[in-house]
Symmetry: C2
Subunit: 253 residues, 2 copies
């Protein structure tokens, strides 16, 4: 009721409530808890155990506190995760985009690589990105840098959002697949190569798959000099170059 949200619809985003940072310690000097400590512990747990295993009760235990204490600092689990999400977005290094003479291709590439670095060092972020609005201050700074760069590419104004989609939805998709695969490997206690091999061998045990899988398996094994990780890195680079080359080609048509 105290916020700007409508009717009985749940609040669309923490960032739309009155105070810039939702709940804060009034005084300096520490009680046991404060929002910063809660956020830090959340990130630690998410990095270590993944989103699926994260719970408010688990978090409270990590903080050495009762289940409900956290709720004094944060209204809901969703609000907490939204704050954490923007915090992680703030770890991206946004290149200085103000000077007009920089190469937009290089800068766009840099932004994409930075995005990827963030997404693949915190595999749970992709799982939150779509769920929340991601309109916190750090996220907005990043978005605006992307806009500024693509504007200098010479792409027509009405194609700007499409061009940005081609780049950043690709990175998002790529890192989602990558992250979930990595989480699966961790859960199984195997390296990516081991997990992949195990999978392939189990799959080829099933006669009726032999035929349909062969093409895909052959392709994978033709690159067997590289580790899975190196291969992914290569794929990402190729694909990113492809998209940027496409933006250039479409502009020149």
């Amino acid at each position: 009721m105290a916020s700007t949200s409508r009717a009985d619809t749940p609040q669309a985003s923490v960032w739309l409530s009155r105070k810039p940072v939702p709940k804060r310690k009034g005084d300096a000097e520490g009680g046991a808890l404060d929002l910063e400590r809660i956020v830090a512990a959340t990130v630690r747990l998410l990095d270590a155990e993944g989103l699926a295993k994260f719970s408010m009760r688990r978090l409270a235990a990590e903080l050495g506190v009762t289940a409900m204490s956290v709720y004094w600092y944060v209204d809901t689990k969703d609000d907490l995760l939204e704050i954490v999400l923007d915090g992680i977005n703030g770890t991206m290094v946004v290149p200085d985009v103000s000077q007009e003479d920089g190469d937009w291709r290089e800068q766009l590439r840099l932004l994409a690589v930075e995005y990827r670095k963030m997404l693949s060092s915190h595999t749970w972020v992709t799982q939150l990105l779509g769920r929340y609005l991601n309109i916190g201050p750090s996220s907005m700074a990043y978005t605006n840098a992307c806009l500024a760069v693509i504007r200098r590419s010479g792409v027509g104004e009405e194609r700007i959002t499409g061009a940005l989609s081609a780049v950043f939805q690709f990175v998002y998709g790529f890192c989602t697949a990558e992250g979930l695969f990595m989480e699966r490997c961790n859960a199984a206690g195997l390296t990516e190569d081991e997990y992949f091999k195990l999978l392939m061998s189990e799959v080829s045990e099933r006669y009726d798959y032999e035929e349909s899988f062969k093409e895909a398996v052959d392709l994978m094994e033709s690159q067997s000099a590289l580790t899975r990780e190196e291969r992914r890195e290569q794929d990402f680079g190729y694909a990113l170059d492809t998209v940027i080359a496409g933006i250039e080609a479409m502009r020149d048509r």
Copy 2:
């Protein structure tokens, strides 16, 4: 113990268990339940209420049956969802890719559009795609068609997976964002345009956002002749053309 899975690691995929379709009615003619009815009800619920609200108990209620009955046909919730996922993959129309004279650009575009149609008519699919291996029979048929098409593009063998990533991870990312936005609109009981407008007005109420948001808002409003949906359709088309143009450009370098 009866399956090929290792140690205490949970089964990596239903499709790796012995029987092609995990559990099946032995006899013809119907009791109350069977796997087909369960799968159909699951899809119906997921379409109507989304993944977050789906539960085994909710499903059982929908089928007019006790919570645990479903477990006779399916080992876990994950197994059920994996089967459902492949079933939906089977609704894609895979173009005939066998003749060598077709235009690979058109066929690749067709495959991407088909993928998108599937993903955006079942918004919950993107949320499952990363979680499960997606190596069921229907999914494999689609993947193989993609491989066949990209092979005819003339892209070097070691760039094939990168090129495919550029296309399909983009589509995946795009449809994920799209789907989650649509779900949010449905939950709020608003059309996409209404929801977007509401959001923009709430955001601009916050003084400290005014500045950082202006660029993005201006961009959106410069296209205000179109509905959000038409805009998205346009963006998707542009972006897809961009990626395909990029594959061509990279090949010719």
